[in-house]
Symmetry: C2
Subunit: 645 residues, 2 copies
């Protein structure tokens, strides 16, 4: 490893990953040092028990029902009186002078030859051993006539037949839902002992972090880890206390960490997106208590920088700063321990088998998790990897689940059937799968469909990726904007046999620049471009190879290679951001991207954004609905700055 003379970077590099443990070794060391167990029981009232974990077995203190009772409206009587009753010779019974309702304690016994009117739920009076339904009796004088025999016990619900006193009603460890509430209430319990929820402090660290809701300053990024870790902890039975983001200042961090550690049952930190920040927090927690750090560096991808510690019997974790890494390591390594402290069983995860559409490369020696979104293909579920690097918050958020690539495997071939661990339980394939290039106009159309109850999923892979998925019939619609220089036309030349194009809309592309740039004031496109190319200080931002816009840019440049030519992001938004933030002075993007950031815009040429589909689609009705929604969205598309066809 090198040690370049870059102040503030070299040091971090040397301290990190002194010993990378395997996933299982790290877990074993964490578990052994902590010995996690529930924190203690507390009595909680019935109305606040939902979702809590029962701390002790509950035995029924009374029978339910508490007495023998009628289960129909009718008459309580002695079965022996009716043994010889028949249609030919009905038996007459005198009525006792009381009516037993629910809640009425019977005052009179039922003597032979008598009956007592009783309502459903009424307690059976002494002497009676059966109930006859009111429909099977006839009034006769001051009594009733019964024309059929009844078995002893008929229409009686015996005491304790539902729940017997002393019976174990609920077992410790059960998560209380409505059904458990019913059991407790039925035997008169208005509270139950449940495990206390672990109180877990969450601290984000990093100079760059900005609290959501505050304006974003230059070089600032929003702190998403803090809120999402708190939410994930709540989903795992903890009471999370998000204490906000702390800058990478050792004194400030030490004070915040010590205070949080002292006041809570566990402490979770997440670095900013910088490794340096992770190191600082690691130094700080090492001093919290014995035994201290048990794992720093785990052979997980994403998640290698994870640091696990146990200090004075409390778990402490420093999660990697990248959102997906943070969530993965939280769920994989930290949540299981906190669930034990909360008295919860391990999280049950549903799994399904799915086909991998593309080869998935992996790093040997690290257990690797690839987040996937599911669509329905011709041979069942298809798992599209959605990892855009662990820096992406959307990778975790948009995935339906993940597949695990073992440490000793270096890739999974296209077509591999792999087991996907689902994040949720109700994963239903969407009615329409849309894979390809993304556009905010597409959101408008799909939003309209969603309003009509049709589920659709959009996976943004770019035009080529969408066409390939469509060719494999792994999606229904591929939105594309591909320019063919040979025919000087969009999209149609790229369709395979059997595909057709649903016309979408035109998007005006043009020169974008900071409003007020004197080099372009009042100029047309050609003049402006000439001025920019003549200025040695001007820096452009290009687009990626394969983008339709790139073809346009190369035409405009006519062989020139100005500064910034090699800066090649893959979206209109990234081009606009580079110009707005001063990393570049000009580029080519669509009008809405420029307008959103208040940039100047000189129109150059339209791009065609259309939808490739099969002529014999999997779900013709869904495609029809899409085309209808497209037609209904014209006004909205116009308002967004597009020109619908």
């Amino acid at each position: 490893m090198s040690a370049p003379n870059a102040p503030g970077l070299a040091g971090h590099q040397q301290e990190q990953f002194l010993q990378v443990l395997s996933r299982d070794d790290a877990e074993a060391a964490f578990m052994a040092a902590l010995g996690p167990r529930p924190l203690g029981a507390e009595e909680v009232a019935l109305e606040a028990l939902l979702g809590r974990v029962l701390a002790r077995d509950i035995a029924a203190p009374v029978d339910a029902p508490p007495f023998d009772r009628a289960v129909v409206d009718g008459f309580a009587l002695r079965a022996a009186d009716l043994f010889e009753a028949s249609e030919a010779e009905p038996v007459r019974l005198r009525l006792n002078p009381e009516v037993i309702h629910c809640g009425t304690a019977p005052a009179l016994p039922v003597a032979p030859g008598t009956a007592t009117p009783i309502a459903t739920g009424g307690p059976i009076p002494r002497g009676a051993d059966a109930v006859v339904m009111i429909e099977h009796t006839e009034p006769e004088g001051d009594g009733i006539a019964v024309a059929r025999a009844v078995a002893p016990g008929s229409f009686i619900g015996f005491a304790g037949s539902d729940i017997a006193r002393g019976q174990t009603l609920l077992r410790r460890g059960v998560v209380i839902g409505a059904r458990e509430v019913a059991m407790l209430a039925a035997v008169g319990l208005d509270r139950a002992p449940v495990w206390r929820k672990p109180r877990v402090a969450v601290l984000s660290t990093g100079d760059e972090l900005v609290r959501p809701g505050d304006p974003l300053r230059p070089a600032g990024v929003y702190d998403s880890n803090g809120p999402v870790i708190a939410a994930a902890l709540a989903e795992n039975g903890c009471e999370a206390v998000h204490l906000g983001a702390i800058p990478d200042d050792e004194a400030q961090l030490t004070e915040a960490v010590r205070a949080a550690f002292a006041a809570h049952d566990a402490l979770i930190l997440s670095g900013g997106t910088s490794k340096g920040a992770g190191d600082l927090t690691t130094r700080v927690i090492a001093g919290l208590g014995a035994p201290g750090i048990v794992a720093h560096g785990v052979a997980l991808k994403p998640g290698k920088p994870l640091c696990l510690a146990v200090c004075d019997g409390k778990p402490v974790a420093v999660l990697p700063g990248f959102p997906t890494s943070a969530m993965f390591t939280l769920h994989e390594m930290v949540a299981p321990v906190l669930r034990i402290m909360a008295g919860l069983p391990p999280r049950g995860a549903a799994r399904i088998e799915a086909v991998l559409p593309l080869r998935l490369g992996s790093e040997l020696g690290r257990t690797e998790f690839a987040m996937v979104a599911l669509t329905e293909g011709p041979e069942g579920a298809v798992a599209h990897p959605v990892g855009k690097g662990s820096g992406a918050v959307t990778a975790f958020a948009q995935a339906d689940g993940f597949l695990t690539v073992p440490a000793l495997v270096d890739s999974l071939a296209a077509g591999t059937r792999a087991e996907v661990t689902l994040f949720g339980v109700g994963v239903a394939a969407p009615r329409l799968a849309v894979i390809g290039s993304h556009c905010v106009g597409l959101d408008a159309v799909v939003g309209r469909l969603a309003g009509q109850g049709m589920t659709a999923r959009i996976l943004a892979t770019g035009s080529q990726g969408g066409l390939a998925a469509l060719a494999r019939r792994e999606c229904d619609i591929a939105p594309i904007h591909l320019f063919d220089p040979a025919t000087d036309s969009f999209n149609t030349p790229y369709l395979a046999d059997g595909m057709r194009l649903i016309p979408g809309w035109r998007r005006m592309q043009g020169l974008v620049f900071r409003a007020g740039d004197a080099r372009l004031a009042g100029k047309g496109v050609a003049e402006a471009l000439a001025a920019l190319l003549a200025d040695p200080e001007a820096i452009m931002v290009n687009r990626n190879q394969g983008a339709g816009t790139r073809v346009l840019i190369d035409r405009l440049l006519a062989g020139a290679r100005p500064q910034g030519y090699w800066n090649q992001p893959n979206s209109h938004n990234a081009v606009a951001a580079a110009v707005a933030q001063g990393r570049a002075d000009w580029g080519v993007a669509i009008r809405p991207a420029a307008e959103a950031l208040g940039l100047g815009f000189l129109p150059v040429a339209e791009e065609h954004y259309d939808f490739a589909v099969w002529q014999d689609p999997r779900d013709a009705a869904a495609l029809e609905a899409f085309e209808a929604a497209l037609a209904q969205s014209r006004d909205e598309l116009h308002a967004l700055g597009f020109d619908p066809r």
Copy 2:
């Protein structure tokens, strides 16, 4: 229909079920009269969003990341500078005098031939179009040497590459979990518009109802419907307000109902267990507003007495009083409407196929739901019906799900493969299935197993039912206590070929009577029995045919048929309750049942409670664990009043 002269019953009978609607007609009428829709949006802060339902589409107000950033620690530079770099001829770059950390806004552009140290997450400076990893550089003088070319864009996360400004981030109707919190926070949103939760008033009605936590008065039963309906509403996105139980008094009920209706978005009443109470509430709600009652009587079993109304645009429902009926009609007919008002999608229900072990009778003309508990049989899941009549709170609580018998089917044959709708999602077959006679001693043994992490399910079917399930290999253990008069022995004569008996414990049976009964004071069994049989006022309580205790009782009676002989409940607890509550004066039960109610007890004979199992069990290790837990439970069994073998 008859009209017997039973005051207080006849009237109810006539008013009820004037027109019984089919399930679908009732639902259609309810939906049409209400036209349910979400109630309105409210802004809720990020930390309180978990579980809420998004009311509007959310578009990203900023790009994420907000700027191009480094995704590794290294150096920001111009890819063009390294085009010709090689091991043989490394390229030297001067370092610019700044280090870009996370949160540092770059001050200096990267000119050709220079590089700037940059940490992971740091913003890319103007002029740079790639990052080279620190590991791939060597320090050299006041600069670095790089021995390989890099592609433009290497190790840069472009602005908007994760989330593009303007992109629809979350769609309305989504239930917010940790992943959705992550998306919102990542674009700086600290709140979101969600649907307001419907506030639903819950009132139980019935003279007999006692609030859980209060002592049970004679003829009183605990109000379990109120708490469980409130809990089920909370599980369906509502804010439930349980207003307690109201007696069956028209004035009092009218006042309570009007106040509750005025102050909430919906009103749910549940009758006591009496039909009369249901009628009263129906009368009261009929006056709340137009159009009023839309269905009263629905062809559902359980659930026929259900009453649905719409008053001034609010849904009002009167659920049947029996707990299982109440929960079924709530989930089947009312919750779907409330979910729409809460903005929630229909509840997804998992389904599995299971074999019915016994014929299941059904009533023609009513859609019938049978609650089932699942075990693993030789041909997959087995669905054991657990309905003990709709009066049972446990039927709903102990079931894994239910199967639906269509209105036009009168029975399902044993062996039928039927679709079971699961109540939960994580239904795993227990490791040990125990079906047969229940005993609190069994709870102790199984509790010990549960403490060791072994799941077991107990279904109380009685000894004969357990043996039959064991014979079909639908359970692992059948607890039995069957007396064989021919051999004067317990249990062994009932085993089939290939079964064996695990010895359990002995339970002392004896005469039970109210302590202080002068007829029995100081007497032995024979003397006491003679005194009871000689008293024409004395009433006994018997046991069901087939119970081992019944054989003992018939021996004791030696042909006598005293009063109460035909009162034949099927459990020791019911016998003890009948005596304690004065419905009977004596009976025969086991000692713990008598002691629990403070009854007198004269020992007569021991009953053998043993465990029938197969000699070649499905899971030998689980059986071994059971036998070990049995051996470890000796002290506990002794303490419960049993005599372990």
